[in-house]
Assembly symmetry: C2
Homo-oligomer: 345 residues x 2
């Protein structure tokens, strides 16, 4: 048992802790791939090419740990690099902190370290520091993973994305179909007897952000980017209008939802606009660059292929998101209230 | 109940999440004290004055949440700023991620946010980004707090502290008495019937690191700094000699331990050399600057008052820490094995 499973000793800072880090974490997340045997330091030095940086942190408590399309390890990398991307920052370095539960199979931990390493490589970031703590059986549902990151701002000075930059007439772009991530996790959670082919969209979105910054004169005509994760598209748009004191009108038929995802949401009683995404971006751009921005997104590859113009910033009613249907109807899109979807990320 | 306690909805990304952040987190940890109403962004921009940085992360799962001398909130700030300090980096910005348990009184969360804010102010860092997740009752023991940080390297280029810089003859300095933190937490954990006046030493150690860098020609004669937290002094010294492939001899009578702490450790059956510290530093310096470094530490204030020269780097046996007693005896100081002290930080 002791050899194959996490024990409290693994978190206590002595011989077992050192072995856990040296034999499991370092070979997989290699603090510095150029110096695999380098001593582990209390803090890890890194160099930047800019003094204009951004940082963010994300706790991941998704249940179950693995789901179609991803797992807590890949999700933990994408959650943080995507927040950096939405801040207009090229992801540079990540840190990873693990809260492990006593009794967790070490093979499970290893698999998530491997998933993190692969996701970090694909996203072009290095995991440069980490920490591992262990809590008693039952007190962490396997594992929780917190990632934090630092990125270099890629927008020109004075053009950091912010909801305060929104102006009436600005165009709202959305990359990719919505609701895949949350739906996939919910379907994986229990045997709901729903046979739906839904995969999480978890993926790094920096290539999309970079394309948008390039198509908007280093961000001069890019108002804001938003990673519509927890709370979904509805929450992301509502947060924008609340912070901007403007309105947004969305043309509902332009918001892509895969048929399998739409069907599963109906069976689960979920509004897909409120379901988490982990691989798409909402962007608001000045009207004069909207076509170029959309073309740039389409040029990124599969992740940008379904990017579409879905709406427009309007003067009012301020703080309101309104969806228009294909038949001239209008409905208010609220911040998600009522029953939450806990532990989706 | 819903109004006074954390619920799963607080972690789901909708209305309740937004209120938790807007009404509890932001007013206390104010993302930017100059712009208290500024919109919350996916990632927070910050500027540095250098491109030579360091980063670290620390998960905190201490039980109980509060103990004499501190609490999980202050500890979470000190844990990360002290790792940065030990890396030779002036702490600049922090991020904080919370895993909260359903049913946690909001007053408890608020108290820890206040403790973090006070500790961050005292340490001269800003908390610039955060995340809050909620897990079901029983799955987080109240709350876990992960902090990550970025600091600016204060050592001159090429003089980053590292165990690979150790040379025989180097002097080992220790600030402050050891074992107070872990002992205080253990005494607080259960009603052990031990009436000991022991307080955690949790405190920011950057002023000590800064003094050492100043006294060693911008780090040219500073070999390494170490924050002897989990696993205590014994683990910190053993990690140094393992990474340096040299030995260290420590003169045991020079290692300060408060009488109350020593007595409590005896009653608890603990080796104080293996007990966690959260407000002291181990420094290894070139012999020619040892006196000046010690004087600089004494000049910092109460936190440096008991700094002492406790040992010396020796050629061998490599990888061994040996303690010499006042009577000419010698004992090997091992990495902590055997019974761990879990959840001390």
């Amino acid at each position: 048992m002791t050899d194959d499973h996490v024990t409290l000793a693994h978190g206590a800072g002595g011989v077992a802790s050192r072995r856990l880090v040296a034999e499991h974490v370092v070979p997989r997340l290699a603090v510095d791939p150029d110096h695999p045997g380098a001593p582990l330091l209390d803090a890890t030095p890194f160099a930047t090419s800019s003094t204009r940086l951004a940082t963010t942190t994300d706790a991941h408590v998704v249940r179950p740990l693995r789901f179609p399309g991803g797992s807590i390890g890949s999700l933990a990398v994408h959650g943080t690099v995507n927040d950096l991307a939405a801040g207009g920052a090229r992801p540079l370095v990540l840190t990873a902190a693990f809260v492990l539960e006593e009794g967790l199979p070490l093979a499970t931990f290893d698999a998530e370290l491997d998933a993190m390493a692969a996701a970090a490589r694909a996203a072009g970031v290095r995991v440069v520091a980490g920490d591992t703590k262990v809590v008693e059986r039952g007190r962490a549902d396997g594992m929780y993973v917190v990632t934090s990151g630092v990125g270099e701002l890629a927008t020109a000075p004075g053009h950091d994305p912010s909801p305060t930059r929104l102006r009436p007439g600005d165009q709202v772009l959305l990359t990719g179909p919505i609701a895949d991530h949350g739906t996939a996790v919910l379907l994986a959670r229990e045997d709901l007897g729903i046979d739906a082919d839904v995969c999480s969209d978890t993926a790094p979105v920096w290539p999309l952000a970079e394309a948008l910054i390039g198509a908007t004169a280093h961000g001069a005509h890019l108002r804001v980017l938003r990673d519509p994760s927890r709370g979904g598209l509805a929450t992301a748009l509502n947060e924008l209008v609340l912070d901007a004191a403007l309105g947004i009108e969305v043309h509902e038929p332009d918001v892509a939802i895969r048929p399998a995802t739409r069907g599963a949401c109906e069976l689960l009683g979920l509004d897909p606009w409120c379901v988490a995404n982990e691989g798409c971006l909402v962007a608001v751009v000045a009207p004069e660059v909207a076509d170029a921005a959309l073309a740039a997104l389409h040029g990124v590859g599969p992740i940008g292929a379904l990017a579409a113009r879905v709406g427009e910033v309007v003067a009012g009613p301020p703080g309101r998101v309104v969806a228009t249907t294909g038949f001239g109807g209008r409905r208010i899109v609220d911040l998600m209230a009522g029953d939450p979807l806990p532990r989706i990320c």
